[in-house]
Amino acid sequence: MHMPLEDTLGLNLLAANQHQAEHNREHFDAWQLLCLNVMSSPGAGKTSLLERSLAALATDLQMAVLEGDMTTQLDAERLEAVGVPVVPITTGRACHLDAAMVSGGLKLLKQRLDPASLDLLWVENVGNLVCPAEFEVGEHRKVALLSVTEGDDKPLKYPVMFREAHCVLITKTDLLPYLPVDIARIEAHIRAVNPRCAVIRVSASSGEGLAAWHGWVRDQQAAVCGPFARATSPTLVTA
């Protein structure tokens, strides 16, 4: 019995996730919105940064957040308080968001608003420097945070995350005067594994670097969605 060779393999091990991620991205492109996947270790300051960024960018961008957490909806409640629609995604045991979870979050989001009215969708991933780097969710850009309290060796110890990032934010820079850490070494180690990404020093507490960070976000939004952000409010879906 002849068994022909098939040419459909050479699949990514994560092909099933990849297919769903591409499906999500097709929706994002159809809705003309930028999707950012925000990743870091737990406690690096993703939610604090988002609180500041949502408030600052809401003047000219329509946004929503898919908020991943293993348990609790504490972060989602913090961000909802800023006045931006937030859909919590509780992952349970999983230590990262995958494309199917984000698809589920999008379905819930669509019950609240028309995604085509958005300019920017934030996906705040589960705090973890390992797994989220390998599981695409359909994002256009990956953003990794590294706080100055984590030490300058983390880009070398968790290189995949920092290699994959389009932008690395060095957070909590207001703490630098109190720490024996050399921020130049942090930057050098990020550059060592990823010479091309944007590296921006920020502090959600003092506001340092936020203008540069928001400039980067606006640039990406314009690059993905065209130069003119919509000025209308999100179209709420009424039941």
Binding site: M1, L13, L14, A15, A192, V193
Partner: protein, 139 residues
């Protein structure tokens, strides 16, 4: 232990492949993977979680064969390849340049599958001959 989720995704990817053979179910002997060292996957853990994940399923008994692919970088200045070393911040030893280009090491790839397609049941034959082993390979 994200290998559990990696394994789930691998099983889903295999199910996508299986659909090509509908309605018959291929009997899979071995799934050959290429896993780069510059990934978040620990091969031994992947094998362990795979065996647990496929037990009792259509993939029961199928083994994972993992080929580890080393991280190789290409120096941006001299164009030579090198083995990036974390202790040296992944920089090229030839020209001391950062790791601009990765030649290999990011693979997470199903390279091929060894499998048999079961013979359709025939009322006239009590013992169907076993189909020869086939390999679906990447091109």
């Amino acid at each position: 232990m994200h290998e559990v989720d990696m394994t789930k995704c691998l099983v889903l990817s295999m199910q996508e492949w299986r659909q090509q053979h509908d309605p018959v179910t291929p009997q899979v002997q071995t799934v050959h993977l290429q896993v780069g060292t510059f990934t978040c996957v620990e091969p031994d853990q992947l094998v362990t979680t795979w065996r647990a994940a496929v037990r009792g399923s259509w993939l029961d008994g199928a083994e994972l064969a993992i080929e580890t692919v080393p991280l190789v970088g290409r120096c941006v200045l001299c164009n030579g390849t090198y083995s990036p070393d974390p202790q040296q911040a992944y920089r090229s030893p030839c020209c001391n340049q950062p790791m601009e280009e990765i030649v290999s090491g990011r693979e997470l790839r199903i390279r091929s599958v060894d499998y048999r397609l079961p013979e359709p049941a025939s009322p006239s034959a009590t013992t169907a001959p076993q189909a020869p082993l086939a390999t679906a390979a990447a091109v």
